[in-house]
């Protein structure tokens, strides 16, 4: 396995805050839409994935 360190701790705090915020926004927005959005069309499109990945559905 590749365990070579590539993370650069010299990154400024604000860079990290921005990166974490961007990653969180992607994660929460996509998981909300695919797993939770109440819109009937979104529900119907996402139906089999919601069931298949054990999200609360219906």
């Amino acid at each position: 396995m590749n365990t070579v360190s590539v993370y650069t701790p010299t990154l400024s705090v604000s860079d990290r805050v921005k990166a974490v915020t961007a990653a969180l926004v992607i994660g929460v927005a996509l998981i909300y839409t695919t797993g939770f959005a109440a819109s009937t069309n979104v529900h119907n499109a996402a139906h089999d994935t919601r069931h298949g990945l054990a999200f609360p559905c219906h």
Binding site: M1, N2, T3, V4, S5, V6, Y7, T8, P9, L11, D15, R16, K18, A19, V20, A22, A23, L24, V25, I26, G27, V28, A29, L30, I31, T33, T34, G35, F36, T40, N41, H43, N44, A45, A46, H47, D48, T49, R50, H51, G52, L53, A54, F55, P56, C57, H58
Partner: protein
């Protein structure tokens, strides 16, 4: 670094999502389609089975096979076959990109080195927090199963995910015994409170099929987490090397 987060999330989610979409196509989706035949049969007999006491609800997401008077058929849904498979695959890929985003958010916030090994550990924890822990209260369901109100279940799901994720982090990252104890309490708390359940079971899907589906869907979610984490662990160092060269 924001660009790197976007690139790695999208690529890792795309690759892992494609693999798991193929797995879903031959594992969970056939069982969902099978359950829908029972759901449709139940819908035709629904009036004689309407024995709820207020908490239990059957929501027939796909409508009955026959025409129900007054039912609105204008509602869009993907057509069975290729279109439905494509939508399911696209949604699975989007979910994988979301998982990759959450993994990167956690690992960058914690200041961890992102490689295959560490990403897989985070991925396993992601599965415990978003998959296993909520499923212990709200078992994965096939269409047609009776369940409590959706909003209550989603709320319990979310609270359980946050409590489990926080609990795992506290337990794994802090040495103080009282914090480890607090972490265990936090992980157990949602289960002590209990998930919202229907008053009476209603599903006509055979228990064997439902049980098979429950274990399969957890396995598929585990596969999605681990595949996504592995891709993140491979792609992040690659994207970082590219960024260092540029």
């Amino acid at each position: 670094m924001v660009t790197r987060v976007l690139t790695v999330s999208i690529l890792a989610g795309l690759l892992a999502g494609l693999i798991v979409a193929a797995l879903q196509h031959v594992t969970t989706t056939p069982l969902i389609l099978k359950a829908e035949t029972y759901e449709a049969a139940l819908a035709l007999k629904a009036p004689t089975l309407a024995a709820f006491d207020g908490d239990a609800r059957i929501i027939l997401a796909h409508g009955p096979a026959g025409d129900a008077p007054g039912h609105d058929h204008a509602e869009w849904k993907p057509q069975d076959g290729l279109q439905r498979t494509l939508f399911t695959s696209a949604v699975t890929i989007a979910t994988a990109i979301g998982f990759a985003g959450l993994l990167l958010a956690g690992m960058i916030a914690a200041g961890d080195t992102i490689d295959q090994r560490s990403a897989l550990v985070w991925g396993a924890c992601g599965f415990i927090a978003l998959g296993l822990a909520p499923a212990m209260g709200l078992a994965p369901e096939l269409p047609g199963a009776a369940s409590a109100a959706l909003e209550q279940r989603q709320l319990w799901w979310l609270a359980t995910v946050v409590a489990t994720a926080l609990g795992l982090f506290l337990f794994l990252r802090f040495e103080q015994p009282w914090l480890k104890l607090a972490a265990v309490v936090l992980i157990l708390l949602p289960h002590v409170i209990g998930a919202p359940h229907p008053a009476a079971p209603e599903s006509k899907v055979p228990a064997e099929v439902a049980a098979h589906f429950a274990s399969l869907s957890l396995g598929i979610q585990a596969a999605l987490w681990l595949a996504t984490a592995f891709m993140v662990g491979v792609l992040w160092p690659w994207a970082s090397r590219r960024a260092a060269k540029a």
